[in-house]
Amino acid sequence: MSVGNCAIMGVAESRLGVVPDATPLTLQAEAARDALKDANISMDRVDGLFCAGRWGSSFQLQLAEYLGLRPRYSDATVVGGASFEFHVAHAAAAISAGLCEVALILYGSTQRSGRERSLSAPNNNLGFQFEAPFGMPSPVGAYALAANRHMGIYGTRPEDLAEVAVSAREWAALNPVAYRRGPLSVTDVLDSPLVCDPLHVLDCCLITDGGGAVVITSAAVARECAKPPVWVLGHGEFHAHSQISEMADLLVTPAAVAGKRAFEMAALGPKDMDVLEIYDSFTITVLLTLEALGFCRPGESRHLFREGRSSPGGDVALNTSGGGLSYCHPGMFGIFLLIEGVRQLRGECGDRQVRHAEKAVVSGTGGCLASNGTCILAV
């Protein structure tokens, strides 16, 4: 059994998909309640609060108020969809430093019902004036630029990108709460409308409502909980740009640095991982991240999707929930990567359970390939 300084003891989703009667606060409250129930910890023991979102200002104040929490440590780091892997790292550091003992990580969005999603990037940052006149839909255009370069440099084809979406759908078919579960072929992806070449509509993540919660505790508290601990053995984070025109190399994502740090901390490597939960905002995100994390050589990630290797039962257990492409994607997906990784390691995944799942890598990517937080989890 692996042991670390802190462990994930509870996870939960809120209602997902289309939840027109919900607000970001109520979805987070649902998830918080259920994740704490999962951990068998009462809410009044929460003394660390971590959250991210785009639903308001000072949202950690609003959340603590709504839930009746009085955290002695809180952190609302927002680095896009990877925020929650950053939160795991920050919670682990805070717990190790004795600054809190029971940390609650939260996210919720009514992006679908609230029609909050827009292809217009925010216009309040300085650098954006040097991209705004050229009409790039964000973030999809940024990922399309990376895909274009991946194709040009490595010979990747649109079919290779489509395989990522097909694989996600095969897993989603086994997940009762996945948003899209029907059959999907490479041809279906390639026949869907192009948004920004080479990315089609079905190369892009879903737009859904939903929330999630993760409870992390010290090793001492973990011993009191209901379920076996999922230890946080390693974590790493990295960011170096905000907008895509400032990214040094479109084929080397922040996962290269964050992943190296996480694997080194855990004293483990890609070969040791039984389950891979890799942020799939777009199909290209998965290819780039697998390469950056060292699961294959640069440019060769497409081979991990060949001949059913990444399908259920294959040797690459990847995005086993169906991912942001088919399960849910309420604006930020990082917390759902953690939830699925924990459930797989606990053996709670029913039809989609990966056999002998003892170690998982969870890698969140946010913004325009701007941030990555990678966590190594183990039972």
């Binding site: 217009s120 040097f130 050229f134 009409g135 790039m136 999809v140 255009g141 630029l145 948004v195 025109s245």
Partner: protein, 145 residues
């Protein structure tokens, strides 16, 4: 649109038909977008320079869904990252084609009215790029042949 004095200076260059960038006096790095310090060595002595406007395509995409209403009438159009010969990268449009140009292909600067030009807008001209085989001069030459 300009949000600080450095970007105001840059847009002033655009209005004069000049593509400006900065060069660090300490490490000689080309700096873009404009800053008060070098983002490589963090030195705060930067000189303004003018690019000759020759570069190569680093990556590109053909946009088929407009991010905002004012771009809709221009679809499809090509957004590219262009590496200028002076050593900086910028986003722009490649005009005169709809398919993505090859990575590494030479691209040439032109100041043109931007895609989202609104009547009365202050920044009418923006730096755009053309590929060699779609240069206006070449088109004329073909026309005369």
């Amino acid at each position: 649109m300009a949000l600080d004095p450095m970007s105001a200076r840059w847009w002033q260059g655009v209005a004069e038909g000049r593509l400006l960038y900065q060069r660090c006096r300490n490490c000689n790095a080309a700096v873009f977008f404009p800053r008060i310090l070098c983002n490589l060595c963090h030195n705060d002595s930067l000189d303004w320079c003018e690019s000759r406007g020759n570069g190569t395509i680093y990556a590109s995409t053909t946009v088929r869904r407009a991010p905002a209403a004012e771009f809709a009438s221009c679809l499809p159009y090509v957004v590219a990252l262009v590496d200028l010969d002076e050593g900086f990268r910028m986003m722009s449009n490649v005009i005169g084609l709809e398919d993505c140009p090859s990575i590494g292909a030479p691209a040439f600067l032109e100041f043109k009215r931007g895609l989202n030009h609104q009547p009365g807008a202050t920044t009418e001209m923006v730096p755009l790029f053309r590929m060699r085989d779609s240069l206006p001069g070449d088109v004329e030459a073909v026309g005369h042949a």
